[in-house]
Symmetry: C2
Subunit: 409 residues, 2 copies
């Protein structure tokens, strides 16, 4: 058993029941012995769905399927397996998805086109989907509004803890719940990470509006994290809105009645995204990188990721070494507009460099002390514009190498 | 003392004297105790110079200086120190370069504008250039046509072995020597790597022609390697041509009389570039990645680097794990045009996947055996065009993390 990440939250949150959603977690024996590895959700009629997917050109068969179905009609079911990504499996992969969808549609008596599928695990191995379909017998009796911790555990691969988050907000005079789970700890980079996240709400939101607010929230959360700069073939974020809550009608993404919901959705996603970083393979430190003064928000994010993805920056942080020269290097390689002689860097609130050189009388002691903590803050001010962005990452440790040098074998 | 890389060549090559070039290696005590850390070269009048530099937006003061001087007039001297990169040092860095140049120009009695400078080591610390200038007293007596191994050793930082290469070719009926040294083992990525390389020849080649053939050779050699995807602030390749050889006049880069020279220059640079990869921090395996069937050569190189820079691919190789799914992932994230269902992958000459899925009756044994060797070959055929490229990298091991988590402290 792998040791839980030192950066893990103390406990899994108490996600309440979400009206219109029933869930079940099953052990189907795909790869992991003695643990649940299949998660199924069933949604009441009228549930809307939005999705954001990997930009990989070698996306998995389940991603292909979900991309085609999302935005067309509603959603009645979701099935997620861990242990095999069903990626780069050609026609066999496509057939495995179709058979899984058919079975689940039959068991739940819902249209096939409203069944969503996600798979995570090894790439390139043919998915023995009969193990999945066989385990769906008796599913209906297992479905219940509770069991989020089990669900978050069933979708784990190299994760060391289950990830969940939730918020309660008001739309008009109705209380609405947003609850979500996620998995991911390696192959994490923007657009998207090897991560799956499923968010559920009882809000009543039309598909196009749901898609817009989802995409915006993903951009600030899941697409603002990186563990190793690698991008998975399987990344999927799906948001399901059952519409069970009785609140005033929403018709536009910018509707002021939806403001609290938008914020809470971003908070739930950011919470989940940060948990993924906290479970970064081998991570011993959680790193927040704030970039300001860039020519645009997009440029700021790119500079942030150049820092977050630099193996030299990440190993220096692992070594608790205030080697800020590597931050300069990473900013320089970002390709974004930078004026070296205006650049300012601070670590843990202490200004280290400004106007392109180390500050007079630089005292390393407070910075060295900060580097010994578990939460590292790096701020870079490019001082050339107003673009700003925050990205999150973790350090690169021996643990990362150990986990990935013998993950499959 | 750090252990020599297991991938190091058996011995340093016997680079002969190059007419018009005198060299000296000195211990100036910048950072390293008990070893030489300063390299100086003096060139006869009429020496031409070409250069290719880092694309970093936070380039070092010496890079700024060389960029300004290269291509203007000739070169009479070169000075290179290890231990301090004089990067991100603002006005102080610029002044340090100017003082160093002035001193060397005075000692050798040459124009300041024809003195070239390079520095490698820690970023952000002010360079105590008085240590350099003080050690130039008595330089003239030290200059000699021999001592390439010492020179290659003097410019090392985290390198575990000195890097040199040479070729002899004919231009017309004259023999010409091309000899070069290089340093670099971390912060290595294209455009350019944290690497310095200086190549010397007695050929007589006009500046513009020399620049063209240099840029082409760099593109196929130094800009086709990666250790960790990080790009230094200091990367510099300079080629000095003294013109001492008596051969027919060359006036165009594509002159057929220059053909053997062009090939040999690329060979010397590729040899040096591969030695840098073989000295990659913590490297235990040398990896050649051939990409073919891409939409263009540029696209092929980008796909190659997506594989070469993927921490997941590199750790799998370190673990001798034939986890080719990660190669699929890396191809997918390259952003280049890829048709998943046409993709073919082979490892060590064994076809693993084709037409977007694992081959029928895939036998892992020969691939697993190949993964246990020191020289790993990965070939990817995108099967959509004629673009091809080769890039070289190394694996990502515990050694990389160890070296970089405590390099500076």
């Amino acid at each position: 058993m792998v040791k839980k990440s030192p950066l893990a939250p103390v406990r899994f949150p108490k996600i309440p029941a979400i009206s219109g959603v029933s869930i079940a977690s099953i052990s189907c024996g795909l790869k992991y012995k003695g643990r649940k590895d299949l998660f199924v959700a069933s949604f009441d009629k009228g549930t809307k769905v939005a999705g954001v997917f990997t930009k990989s050109k070698t996306a998995s068969a389940p991603v292909d399927w979900c991309k085609r179905q999302v935005g067309r009609r509603g959603a009645r079911a979701l099935i997620v397996n861990a242990g095999n990504a069903n990626a780069f499996t050609g026609l066999a992969g496509e057939k495995a998805v179709r058979r899984t969808v058919e079975w689940l549609a039959k068991v739940l008596n819902v249209p096939r086109s409203q069944v969503f599928v996600a798979s995570t695990g090894v790439i390139g191995e043919i998915l023995p989907d009969d193990k999945i379909t066989r385990s769906l017998v008796g599913l209906k009796k297992l479905l219940s509004p509770y069991g989020w911790a089990d669900a978050a555990t069933a979708i784990m691969t190299t994760d060391t803890f289950p990830k969940g988050a939730w918020r309660s907000v008001r739309i008009g005079d109705a209380d609405v719940i947003i609850g979500g789970i996620a998995k991911g700890s390696g192959m994490i980079a923007p657009d998207m990470a090897t991560m799956l996240s499923f968010v559920f709400t009882d809000a009543a939101i039309p598909t196009d509006v749901l898609q817009t607010v989802t995409a915006r929230a993903v951009d600030k959360s899941f697409n603002a994290i990186s563990v190793d700069g690698d991008t998975s073939t399987s990344d999927t974020v799906l948001v399901f809105a059952t519409g069970a809550a009785k609140h005033p009608k929403i018709s536009k993404p910018n509707d002021t009645k939806l403001r609290a919901f938008r914020i809470a959705l971003e908070e739930v996603m950011t919470d989940l995204a940060q948990q993924i970083v906290r479970d970064g393979e081998g991570a011993s430190k959680f790193v927040t990188i704030n970039v300001s003064g860039a020519s645009s928000a997009r440029a700021a994010k790119k500079v942030g990721f150049a820092i977050a993805n630099s193996p030299l920056v990440k190993t220096a942080i692992a070594g608790e070494d205030a080697n800020w020269g590597r931050i300069v290097m990473a900013v320089g390689k970002s390709g974004e507009r930078v004026d070296r002689d205006k650049l300012a860097i601070s670590i843990g609130g202490t200004t280290v460099a400004e106007r392109g050189t180390v500050v007079d009388d630089y005292q390393e002691a407070p910075v060295a002390k900060h580097m010994k903590g578990q939460e590292i803050d790096v701020s870079v001010d490019l001082n050339i514009g107003k673009g700003a962005a925050t990205v999150w990452t973790c350090d690169l440790t021996h643990g990362y190498v150990s986990i990935n040098a013998d993950y499959r074998s």
